[in-house]
């Protein structure tokens, strides 16, 4: 643990610089640059709004904003976890030449995606103004929910990152798992209304993303508070996962390079 704090302090500059550099190249490298950051979630929002709102006739209030808010959190989790599986291979050039705690690379990815999420939030605010969503103090729940999402995401990714080094087709498995989770997280439908009891409650408690997204939206759009106990439990689970992940990485990271060799 002490080592973790020291390393974070030591590599903090690096993490920030690397994050900035990667964001810059990602933005410069694509033709539409900045617009992509906005265009991508926007397009998906339109697709899901069309699918659920028109094809399946969903009656959820502020539906486009509902979808958009869900996508913001989901994309952050999804992109970070799926990147984590092959992250050591991605930074092969660095990893084979210099020692760096491997979760530092994961943190860079996490920050890149976090920044993208912030951009999406900016857009979300514009939408909320546009749809005249009424606000209440419950909106403050957004912050602990975001914090909890970051921790859970880091915890899950750190473990996937470790196994991703050793297992070749974990990429495919994760892709399937994430897709499955996507449909179970109620991005474009309201779990508590659409899923029959008691399954809806089970889903909302056991799937962290479903819970976090729902809580996020409740605070943001529907002036409803959070289930503090469940939020706290996921917070703790997130931290435990992170500790396990970091421990495992510290223990095995110096064998990663040997595996990468082949």
């Amino acid at each position: 643990m002490k080592r973790f704090i020291n390393d974070i302090r030591k590599y903090w500059d690096y993490i920030l610089y690397q994050t900035k550099a990667e964001l810059k190249t990602e933005i410069i490298d694509s033709y539409l640059g900045w617009i992509w950051l906005i265009l991508e979630p926007l397009c998906f929002m339109l697709i899901y709004t069309f699918l659920a709102g028109i094809v399946f006739g969903s009656k959820t209030e502020y539906f486009p904003v509902f979808v958009f808010a869900g996508l913001a959190i989901w994309n952050f989790f999804n992109k970070t976890v799926s990147a984590s599986v092959k992250i050591v291979a991605r930074y092969k050039d660095i990893v084979t030449k210099v020692y760096v705690p491997k979760y530092v690379l994961l943190l860079v990815r996490l920050f890149v995606n976090f920044f993208k999420m912030l951009v999406t939030f900016g857009l979300l605010i514009v939408f909320m103004i546009f749809f005249k969503v009424p606000l209440s103090w419950n909106i403050l729940w957004v912050f602990p929910v975001i914090l909890c999402s970051v921790i859970v995401t880091f915890g899950v990714s750190s473990i996937f990152m470790h196994f991703g080094v050793f297992i070749d087709d974990l990429v495919n498995l994760t892709a399937i798992g994430l897709k499955f989770m996507f449909y179970l997280s109620g991005i474009f439908y309201d779990i508590s209304a659409k899923v029959p009891a008691p399954y809806n409650n089970v889903l909302l408690c056991c799937n962290p993303m479903a819970f976090l997204i729902t809580t996020f939206r409740n605070g943001l759009l529907y002036s409803t508070g959070a289930d503090i106990l469940v939020l706290f439990i996921w917070f703790v689970i997130g931290i435990i996962l992170s500790i396990i992940g970091i421990r495992t990485i510290y223990k095995y990271e110096n064998t990663y390079v040997k595996v990468m060799r082949g």
Partner: protein
């Protein structure tokens, strides 16, 4: 050596195995698990290097030279034995130091520097010197993937040469760039090496470089130390050995 000097690196009974834990694929192997065949790259080498010393490592391909260097740099963990750097900072210079191809050379200077443990401010002070030495000019603001292999190595060399660490590990870099740059880097290397406080380990196949630059040479054979001693002596034996084998 007149008086007893500080020890910079201690290596005790170093073993490194490649357990051949291939990345396995569930699709291919089922869950049959890891059938590890062990390949021993380094089998129990021990030596000490004094501060300010320049040590060469020679040996034929596959004798464990690069593996040893990487272990000293902290990239591999030893499977057995100990490596003690006595708190010195260390950098590994090898062909194509870890650059990220989509980022610019300028950004890579900072990133590499930070990974070597330098503070941002220190790098800012030296960045102009690095760019000048690397002879890249304005190309430094272009993505590294657009570089020729020569430019790539020049930049790599410049970073390690200008950002000075206590211990430098050098893996076959005397073939960097064109003749002019080669000369320049060779001279810079000499200059760096003459610094009393810098400890250097060089891996090279060039007998000339080993003879000229090193105080001592370690001859690795099959993961073990075959001979260790004054540069001239060891290199002569090594050359003779290689001639006989050929």
């Amino acid at each position: 050596m007149k008086k007893k000097r500080e020890i910079a690196i201690t290596i005790e009974d170093l073993h490194i195995y490649y357990k051949d834990i291939k990345r396995f694929s569930i699709k291919k192997n089922g869950l049959s698990g890891l059938n590890a065949t062990t390949f021993k790259a380094v089998k129990g080498i021990s030596f000490e290097i004094e501060k300010g010393e320049i040590v060469g490592i020679c040996g034929k391909n596959g004798s464990g030279k690069s593996t040893t260097l990487r272990a000293i740099a902290g990239i591999f963990s030893p499977d057995h034995g100990k490596i003690d750097l006595h708190g010195n900072s260390i950098s590994l210079l090898s062909i194509g130091v870890g650059f990220q191809r989509s980022l610019t050379g300028y950004e890579n200077i900072f990133l590499s520097g930070m990974l070597l443990g330098f503070k941002r401010k220190d790098i800012e002070k030296k960045v102009d010197e690095i760019i000048e030495f690397s002879e890249l000019g304005n190309a430094v603001y272009k993505p590294v993937r657009s570089y020729s292999s020569g430019m790539y190595s020049k930049l790599a060399f410049a970073i390690t040469a200008i950002l000075e660490t206590d211990i430098m590990l050098i893996d076959e870099v005397f073939s960097v760039g064109d003749i002019k740059f080669k000369e320049k880097s060779y001279n810079k290397m000499k200059e760096l090496i003459n610094d009393e406080n810098r400890t250097v380990i060089i891996v090279s196949h060039s007998s000339k470089a080993l003879r000229e630059l090193c105080n001592r040479v370690i001859w690795l054979h099959d993961g073990q130390i075959k001979e260790i001693g004054p540069a001239d002596e060891v290199v002569t034996h090594y050359e003779k050995f290689m001639m006989e084998e050929a």
